[in-house]
Amino acid sequence: MCDTCGCTQPDEAVTLRKPGKIDSHQHISSNHQNHSHSHSEHHSHNHHEHTHSKKISIETDILHKNDLIAERNRGYFEAKNIRTINLVSSPGSGKTSLLEKTLTDLKDQQGFYVIEGDQQTMNDANRIDSVGVPVIQVNTGNGCHLDSNMVSAAIKELNPENNSILMIENVGNLVCPSLFDLGETKRVVIISVTEGEDKPIKYPNMFQSSDLCIINKIDLLPYLDFDLEKMKNYAVQVNHHLQFIELSVKSGEGLNAWYDWLKNLKN
């Protein structure tokens, strides 16, 4: 599974780090076959059957390796009753702030673990670490999304306990993460009211594949032209199963609905 979007970037550019252990990071090895050698040796004898071209039916999903590992992750989570949230949004919608607030408020009642995905830096993992919740940072290098193989490597390091909730904060990007199943129980897309209300139809794949839409920063609504109902209508046009929770991490309004949703979450 290639996790990179930069064509010259080796897989080793994807790293796992725990806060406080900056020097001991781990590279994720992927399942790549080596593309660049191996075939000439096989075929140095030119057998006659090779002279005619032959069509081979494959019918394989391009992301089937990602999907297989995602299902393996999902089986692990189900067996341990770990509920897993894949948090997706554009950069700046408040994913990390929502996580910090949620963990601070609920960590005494519920075990939590966090996987932070970003291209660079330990910043988000350090923020979660200071709340006192076990966290691992996946730096994707040039990669624009997390994939199931990175999550698989991260959970081996995190070793989450039974009956916990695992929060996976994906790379801030409304496009690429939509295609990559991580094995999550639910996908939660966050939009903030400082963004355009037509985001759901501009980036439909993400809203189409999500289960819950959190509308954040509603304390700012009086100062903005953001039309909340219009945004929800757009989102429902793309995905009529989508649920909504409106909240403000800053004022605390609406957070209880989100906490109830989390508490009622089942695998």
Binding site: C2, D3, H43, H64, H145, C176, P204, Q237
Partner: protein, 113 residues
């Protein structure tokens, strides 16, 4: 930009089957790509060109079958084709529609020597 990851997977799948079939080279790779798969074809083809270099797929020609997006209306049960996720049912105007085709991303076949 996830097209690079998609391209890498395509070439891996093609290589895997080519090696299994003791191929000398891959002449063609045929893909089914749904119109709502979220793939930018131009970026994908560019990425494939970069990745196939030095592999058994080096000279492979790409054949892309575009799969039309098809939806089923859960209210009136009619089936219709459309180009976007936010389309309403043309018969009853409901947006309670489910996609039944158009998200495909599949390697369909390879042609080898």
């Amino acid at each position: 930009m996830h097209e690079m990851a998609i391209a890498q997977n395509i070439i891996e799948i093609a290589e895997e089957y080519a090696v299994k079939s003791a191929a000398l080279k891959v002449n063609e790779i045929e893909l089914d790509i749904g119109k709502l798969a979220g793939i930018e074809l131009e970026s994908l083809l560019f990425a494939i060109d970069v990745i196939k270099e030095g592999t058994i797929c080096n000279s492979a020609k790409m054949i892309i079958n575009h799969v039309e997006a098809q939806f089923n209306c859960t209210e009136c049960l009619s089936t219709f084709n459309t180009e976007n996720y936010y389309a309403k049912c043309p018969v009853c105007n409901s947006h309670k529609v489910e996609i039944i085709a158009g998200r495909e991303m599949r390697v369909k076949s390879i042609d080898i020597n």
